[in-house]
């Protein structure tokens, strides 16, 4: 993200005020002394990592002193969190999931996407059909920023609900062990506090993601087996039946049970044999699965945005959603102050924050800090 140096004081000032007044909103991770922390700073590339805090108070003190742009904490537990990665001695990691609105391919996205020219920083409106060319300098490369709308949030919430259903149903987790957070930008983070999953290695976590996202389901699992000849098939249901889990999900969808040999055979033939059925199965499983980021869940050394800290992509906070249904990130995660800030807005934008609608078409505007910071963080405004 391009951030002109002169805009930094405004954003940093708003962040400082937040951490000064509301540092207590930063959630203390369990076993804080075994975690690795890291943070990024305004106007600086890279991240300061391998930090450790003995208590949440020490962390609060750092937040007020440094006013970082982003703050992260490992989901992993280490014997020595401050040593280099090879020497930290990993002892386990909480299971986490990331659902990102931008991965959902929602139809509303183009209408609130703004390309920002990499070479001159000019923002414009997005035209899907045309190849990008900056109207100001003719540059061909752009960062695309999105101001998520309520449909985006609803789309992500739907995935979260589906994920929670999988976790409490198939995987038998207790609902109180599943914590849902708004990521601070355009998605949700799900933290699992069930200790059973802590020791699992990346491969096992990847298997969990495969399960949740509906990847790698074999036709044999629902009773369709490959025959001896090319594309031939026969039906033999697995020993455990097809009542539960993915088998049950597919059986419901196909309206079959373990007595429907002829019906299933017929369905397979309709799809043109084994290969056709398998392709259809893959499509169904993908549609019924949850869209989660594989990388985030399988990386057991990651440092992950801390609950209660601000996200420099938006100025919103990563916020716990105790009631997902009623949660509105544009109110509930918008926690910055409201003092007036003068900004130059780069393109025509609409947004709604803290119940206030903004439709800004003129270049310079005076906005409450939470809205000004939001637009600056998105790269759509500069402070005057």
């Amino acid at each position: 993200m391009i951030q002109a140096v002169k805009t930094i004081p405004v954003v940093k000032g708003a962040f400082r005020e937040y951490y000064f007044k509301q540092a207590k909103g930063v959630e203390e991770p369990e076993k804080i002394e075994q975690r690795e922390f890291g943070y990024a700073q305004f106007g600086q590339l890279g991240m300061t990592r391998h930090l450790s805090f003995g208590s949440i108070k020490e962390l609060h003190a750092m937040l007020v002193k440094e006013v970082p742009s982003d703050v992260y904490c490992s989901n992993a537990y280490y014997r020595s969190p401050t040593l280099p990665m090879q020497e930290k001695q990993w002892t386990g990691a909480d299971l986490i999931f990331d659902i990102d609105g931008k991965d959902l391919d929602l139809p509303c996205v183009p209408s609130h996407t703004y390309p920002i020219c990499i070479s001159c920083g000019h923002a414009s409106t997005f035209d899907e059909k045309k190849e990008y060319s900056c109207p100001l300098c003719g540059g061909k490369k752009a960062d695309h920023v999105s101001i998520p709308c309520s449909k985006c949030i609803e789309g992500s919430k739907k995935e979260v609900k589906r994920l929670v259903e999988f976790l409490t149903g198939d995987l038998g987790m207790q609902r109180e062990n599943i914590r849902v957070y708004f990521s601070g930008n355009n998605g949700f983070h799900i933290h699992i506090t069930d200790n059973e999953y802590v020791p699992l290695d990346p491969q096992a976590r990847s298997d969990v993601v495969g399960y949740l996202s509906g990847t790698g389901l074999m036709a044999e699992s629902v009773g369709v087996r490959r025959g001896r000849e090319e594309n031939m098939s026969f039906i033999k249901f697995p020993r455990g039946g097809i009542e539960y889990g993915w088998r049950g999900r597919i059986a419901d969808k196909l309206k079959i049970d373990s007595s429907s040999i002829i019906k299933l055979k017929h369905l397979v033939d309709q799809k043109g044999g084994y290969a056709g059925f398998k392709a259809e199965l893959d499509r169904m499983a993908k549609e019924m699965g949850v869209r989660i980021d594989l990388q985030v869940t399988t990386d057991v050394h990651r440092i992950f945005r801390m609950p209660g800290t601000l996200n420099s992509k938006s100025g919103l906070a990563k916020t716990r959603c105790t009631d997902l249904e009623s949660f509105n990130p544009f109110n509930d995660a918008c926690l910055l102050g409201a003092n007036k800030v003068s900004v130059r807005v780069k393109t025509h934008v609409k947004l709604k924050l803290k119940g206030e609608s903004f439709n800004i078409s003129k270049e310079s505007a005076e906005l409450p800090a939470f809205a000004a910071v939001y637009l600056i963080c998105k790269g759509l405004a500069e402070s005057l």
Partner: protein, 331 residues
């Protein structure tokens, strides 16, 4: 647990207790009637080192003694690949008995068997499923073991999963702990400290060592010009340590790519604890495109190897993107 079970599972703690209670001592191994036990132990090790499973089953007194004497002899032989192969073969033997028992015995007996073997030894809690036919394990316990199996049917999505449990049949349940069984036997031998051995055992162990050692001698191949990832795999293999499937694929495809003959490649795997020449040959020929799908497999890219933690890049790699480029890209 009955004495018949101790015969099949002589690694259980109760077997050791039986020995202690019977007041068995080292010196007794010198007795002439122990010759039969030592013969059996010798055969058991030879069968195991050859990659097969020793299938004779006698009275528990004999089995427990044979097992203990085998461990002592393997320790005394002191060749790592022999120990690895022996441990795996003992695990496979126990696995066969376990599978039979899980299928045949009544429910109460089954439960006690689980409690003993799975829970005590491996901290794995297994229950008989509600229908009495299948067994269930916690999802996380399942994943911790199954995620290292390569077959697609072991992926969680292809299992019967319900309310936090994975449902398995007897064969699958036992397959889940095969590796742990083998590690258990291996650790038992590693943890032993041997006193001066009775002559009767020492002689036989020395004979066995002399017979088995030549198989493992040559084996440190000249590895200087291979890329570091391949070098690492060759080193691990020559020590007789286990190498993950993906690393074996890398090793074989690399050797094929540089034109090594199949025979030589097969022999590179002979120190593997689970080596079976026939299977390895088929697999190498398969990778070479001579068998099965007739697809010739290429060497995995550096990126893929990095993702699988098989990359040990050095400065000499010099930005190559596939191990076969190693050494070729020099200016």
């Amino acid at each position: 647990m009955g004495t018949g079970d101790l015969a099949k599972y002589p690694f259980l703690n109760e077997a050791g207790e039986y020995l202690r209670e019977s007041g068995f001592g080292w010196e007794e191994l010198e007795r002439p009637d122990m010759k039969d036990i030592i013969d059996r132990a010798t055969e058991r090790i030879q069968v195991g080192a050859g990659g097969n499973v020793y299938d004779k089953l006698e009275r528990y007194e004999i089995e427990i003694l044979t097992f203990i004497v085998s461990l002592i002899m393997v320790k005394s032989i002191g060749i790592e690949p022999v120990l690895k192969k022996y441990a795996l073969s003992e695990a496979r033997r126990a696995e066969e008995f376990l599978t039979q028992d899980l299928k045949q015995q009544s429910e109460t007996q089954r439960r006690s068997l689980f409690a003993k073997i799975f829970e005590d030894l491996f901290k794995l809690k297994i229950d008989v499923a509600e229908d009495g036919r299948l067994f269930k394990v916690r999802v996380a316990d399942y994943l911790a073991r199954s995620s290292h199996f390569h077959e697609q049917e072991w992926k969680l999505i292809n299992r019967l999963v319900h309310a936090g449990h994975v449902y398995l049949d007897a064969d699958e349940t036992v397959r889940l702990v095969r590796n742990e069984l083998s590690v258990l036997i291996y650790d038992k031998v590693k943890a032993m400290t041997l006193p001066t051995l009775p002559q009767a055992i020492k002689v036989r162990a020395d004979e066995l060592r002399a017979r088995l050692a030549p198989r493992y001698e040559y084996k440190i191949s000249a590895v200087t010009e291979y890329p570091p990832c391949v070098k690492h795999a060759v080193e691990v293999m020559s020590k007789g340590e286990n190498l993950p499937h993906s690393a074996r694929v890398m090793l074989a495809t690399y050797m094929l790519a540089i034109g090594k003959p199949v025979d030589e490649i097969v022999m590179m795997f002979q120190n593997a604890p689970d080596f079976n020449e026939k299977i390895t040959r088929y697999q190498v020929e398969h990778l070479a495109g001579m068998k099965g799908s007739r697809t010739k497999y290429s060497v995995p890219s550096c990126e893929k190897l990095r993702n699988e933690n098989l990359c040990f890049a050095t400065a000499e790699c010099d930005g190559i993107i596939n191990p076969v480029q190693f050494g070729r890209k020099r200016k």
